[in-house]
Symmetry: D2
Subunit: 388 residues, 4 copies
Amino acid sequence: MSFNSFGHLFRVTTFGESHGVALGCVVDGCPPRIPIEAAEIQAFLDRRRPGQSRFTTQRREPDAVKILSGVFTDPETGAQVTTGTPIALLIENTDQRSKDYGAIKDAYRPGHADYTYDVKYGIRDYRGGGRSSARETAARVAAGAIARKVVPGLSVRAALVQVGRHTIDRARWDWDEVDKNPFFCPDAEAARVFADFLDDVRKAGSSVGAVVEVIAEGVTPGLGAPVYGKLDADLAAALMGINAVKGVEIGAGFASAALTGEENADEMRLGNDGAPRFLTNHAGGVLGGISTGQPLVCRFAVKPTSSILTPRATVNRFGEETEILTKGRHDPCVGIRAVPVAEAMVACVVADHYLRQRGQVGTPPDWPFARPAGAPEEIPAAHTKVRE
Amino acid sequence: MSFNSFGHLFRVTTFGESHGVALGCVVDGCPPRIPIEAAEIQAFLDRRRPGQSRFTTQRREPDAVKILSGVFTDPETGAQVTTGTPIALLIENTDQRSKDYGAIKDAYRPGHADYTYDVKYGIRDYRGGGRSSARETAARVAAGAIARKVVPGLSVRAALVQVGRHTIDRARWDWDEVDKNPFFCPDAEAARVFADFLDDVRKAGSSVGAVVEVIAEGVTPGLGAPVYGKLDADLAAALMGINAVKGVEIGAGFASAALTGEENADEMRLGNDGAPRFLTNHAGGVLGGISTGQPLVCRFAVKPTSSILTPRATVNRFGEETEILTKGRHDPCVGIRAVPVAEAMVACVVADHYLRQRGQVGTPPDWPFARPAGAPEEIPAAHTKVRE
Amino acid sequence: MSFNSFGHLFRVTTFGESHGVALGCVVDGCPPRIPIEAAEIQAFLDRRRPGQSRFTTQRREPDAVKILSGVFTDPETGAQVTTGTPIALLIENTDQRSKDYGAIKDAYRPGHADYTYDVKYGIRDYRGGGRSSARETAARVAAGAIARKVVPGLSVRAALVQVGRHTIDRARWDWDEVDKNPFFCPDAEAARVFADFLDDVRKAGSSVGAVVEVIAEGVTPGLGAPVYGKLDADLAAALMGINAVKGVEIGAGFASAALTGEENADEMRLGNDGAPRFLTNHAGGVLGGISTGQPLVCRFAVKPTSSILTPRATVNRFGEETEILTKGRHDPCVGIRAVPVAEAMVACVVADHYLRQRGQVGTPPDWPFARPAGAPEEIPAAHTKVRE
Amino acid sequence: MSFNSFGHLFRVTTFGESHGVALGCVVDGCPPRIPIEAAEIQAFLDRRRPGQSRFTTQRREPDAVKILSGVFTDPETGAQVTTGTPIALLIENTDQRSKDYGAIKDAYRPGHADYTYDVKYGIRDYRGGGRSSARETAARVAAGAIARKVVPGLSVRAALVQVGRHTIDRARWDWDEVDKNPFFCPDAEAARVFADFLDDVRKAGSSVGAVVEVIAEGVTPGLGAPVYGKLDADLAAALMGINAVKGVEIGAGFASAALTGEENADEMRLGNDGAPRFLTNHAGGVLGGISTGQPLVCRFAVKPTSSILTPRATVNRFGEETEILTKGRHDPCVGIRAVPVAEAMVACVVADHYLRQRGQVGTPPDWPFARPAGAPEEIPAAHTKVRE
């Protein structure tokens, strides 16, 4: 069951509400003897932390993570390492303003989970969105920091490729740009466009959607499962499970509907090392639910932030019609903060499947007739042509 | 774990290869005392069965389903009903032509799972695609026929809305048309366009992708889970797990990236019965991972069939470069046959979450302050505006 | 997967080492709107807490539990209730003496998990037994306090019925005695025998085993699963999973091997209310893996504490032969503290199956031809004759 | 969830009723490239098959197993091997006598699952016990035949050590005797006593209980999980989940309650090869839930067959008091047939944990400071002293 857990062998369980005492996660099944320090996890949390620019919510919290269990000093190296037992990570909530929740306490904000939580459970913690707040994703980012270390050679990076109707120019894609602007945008010029556009959106008290792209490199071929729990199915669930996501695609994605079989086929040749090479990556690194060894390429759409300053018609829990608008700290484009969360989710999926493959088949698979194919030598990771 | 199982309380495990002895599934966790006859399941299988028009593979198999277990005569009604124990369904393979598999036996067909199965397992049943064949989806359709009966009032329907670059006109959407053309297309005029287009594609030995839309009505509000196992995340996994699917979206989907918060908000009013009504359904029936009571609206992209008559460059399992083309029975547009499969998968997801909700919260939830919202009275189920 | 989780719908994940920062658990899947206060959980923890008599380890910790998430104020009643989201419970470790672990750091204490943890993980937190310490059971007791509230009318009580070769006299069984002596013993006279015996054992630096009996009343009939996940199978796993337990039995248990079918059959009659009644309970409340409605009766054996003052031959992690004896705080009979833990585990199993049954079948089942049978009117819960 | 599935990475799902069309199982997660022939599975089924002596039920069925999926010809060796996809095994029911079920159709046989199935599901297949029949265990034996091949060097053997009050003499334990008598008894002399005793029981239309012991050798050290899913907890669930089992113990089991810490400690020395050796095996091969590398030693008690010729008081589904006796084919001691089933269940548990350990930790673990300990060189596997 997976009400609040994710993964099978690398299993993450999160807990906590936006304005409760604390939030956190338990990472179970992590291999032992992996060096890990709180500071490494903190670095990823700091990247996700809101309030770092005028384009994300002004809630300011240190989001300081504590490791409660599952680590110990390696007697040989003296480094702090995982022990194979559950790693509990805790982030205390410090910025719990005692504000008046009068409006959202009873009325259902359109686009938010207020109504559905009330219908499902008959009760909800309305403070800051409670369990449905994007604040929960801090726990995922923390877990992802561990997941990254489980798979040797794994690199997972994400970037914002569209805001509203403004898209990047893929020819200008530069990973080094991603951390130089407040949007995780790989195209410096597009970042300037995003900034101007979002300033307008923000001043209007409005919001706008976005598209994020995630690329995972160093993914061992052979990860996935043939029918259910396909690697791409698990990636789809992981990304669709991020707050406000409404669509997910792998490789050529929705654009593949308009392709012919000839266009879509990723042909293969041998590389100089004698190992198979794919000439293109329309598949986005997954064929038949199983990784090809090429970069995983995923893209997902984030809807506009539902909290806006314009009043919207709604009802309240007393069965009355009313109107609501959302004041206070909010993101004009929640897609920005989804970038580090997406990296974490993809890392968790890959780590889980890496351990599952090792469990069922052993590793490294040493088949006499097939060697893992690397990424195409001359083709950039984010090469996949997408619908724009 | 879910190598070959799907769902938690309503749990489907499938088995079987395309050209093996038989394929089938075990449905575990089905509630007892649900009337079910093999003929009801057969009706859905017949709808999926290939070889019914020139647009789907000419493999002709009766796909006759046998119920092996889990049903018994109700002593009160005399009807055959489920007993709550596992329902095993068997479909024997009869059309196993003893053809020469020489080419695909050793060489990896681009776009197929040949290479990835070999890398993963070190062995594969290459006959007709083995486990990765779309034939496996017959087992899903069979399971879906049972899932539909688990949730009172549930209706799940799907339709083909795009083939290649040709899309339907949503103003002409008519569910009655869906079973009148070989494409499950709800727009009679578009169906004629599809037919001409696909005839050309077929004659050229080529293939093309498609987009399918699934609508589930009668979905109880409150289904889903707040963080992992969100209803939309499980739908995404279910649909991405169908062969050849490369993208999934819910409600406004990828189009929501270009919307503003004002446009995207589904406002609420009270209906004449005093129950909440949404005025639009950009959410596609899910908010915060939990069903709203509105129709679930999902869309997914299917890549073009990888089996084409044009030779493609590839390698074989001996580490040699070679070329391959696929002769024999194949679909020019595998998206067509995905339509009944998609219905089945969505039915399984809803049935599972229906039982999960009943387990955790009980049913019907009788909250003092919230009544389930029905679909908007005046708005058609498939109303969501999509990117085209 | 269940490395550190237990249950399916009512799912408990624990974390923490004996001398780490903190230990605790996440309870996922708990129904919403159940009133719960930290004080209620604390009461059960206090009962388990060591150091309350000379017969249990002198480690003195307040074991103060904090609820971190998953509860909120009910807007109608003002009471703190569950919200249906994960309930995280935290117990900070305060008594972490900075002692010298030199001996147990490298050498493997016979009967302890030192060797097996090192072989499994290649590293272990040796401080106080780390993850294998009985201290972890505090988290289970905390979870059990919530589980008890999930099932209406459920009562779970346990008692120590044997210490070394000394057994209670079942004719003197009095539940009121259980909390009047430091052994949870239902026979006041036996408690005096236990006290004298254990004083000798303790002074000798030795230890001794025990048998605990758990009785659950108010268990709805129909809980369990027919083949795997039988109620008794899950109870067996739950109790065998308590530290130092080496045997588990249900109802007549091992004694049933010597019974005839005539002796063992629990005959049925109708009670005054017209509902079925069993005349005996050799089954211990479970037939075919499914609860009968009679009291669940489980018994389990706890081995003697492995930490003793007599030196034992062992090896160390450097591959050398050595000897070891255990100084410091330890229980002469670890079976005593297993009593509240066993209650918690049984409560968790019953709560999980209660929700699973509600999920699959709905509740209350209202079959036309069978009403749940209560416990036999004239027969005490703990009546089952056992081998002694 | 595990209504009808068992295991996590090596996962077995069974289906089928005693007198339905067929029964069988799906084995998911089996590693690829393991040679397996139907004949190998059949050999284990033949050993379990009833009707081979006057001491087991006279139902005569060939129990012929068919492999439906998951195997293919290894291109290198030409042998039939597993492919890593689900292995479906089918056993058709041929001996479905169309007898009159009048009595058991409505009345609840004491000791059987009739009442509990009706209370749980509101319906049951009463023919031959339906799903609760011991016939279901054929599917487990079939799965176990595969599980045995997953773990290199694994040997799992079981034996009947007690029938009624008659126990074997452990000094005469001889594994070669087990297949020379109809009781799987390792003591030829005890087998003669069992025969005389069971002849009397059988002629009296009565039945009697039994105790079975299972020994698994070649179990890699390090298998298990630290808290939940402990190896011994999973073994307890697996064995308690066999029909009619009422108690399970590991190693010294219930006898350990009467031992002192000094007696119970399994001391360690180094063997001639420098690897650790245990001097005794009171632990039964498990410490802290993790395998030690010593033989796993489990024992379980089977209650007397509930079907007897003496009428017993009961009620029927119409709420009337009545009497019932069981005519027809039945075992005087169902414990006999539990022997091969127990071997299969233990093999499945070990295979599952073997893959789980490989998944989390990798294999072989190559720790610098600990080498796996073998079994004690001079000590027989079944040496553990037990209560008698």
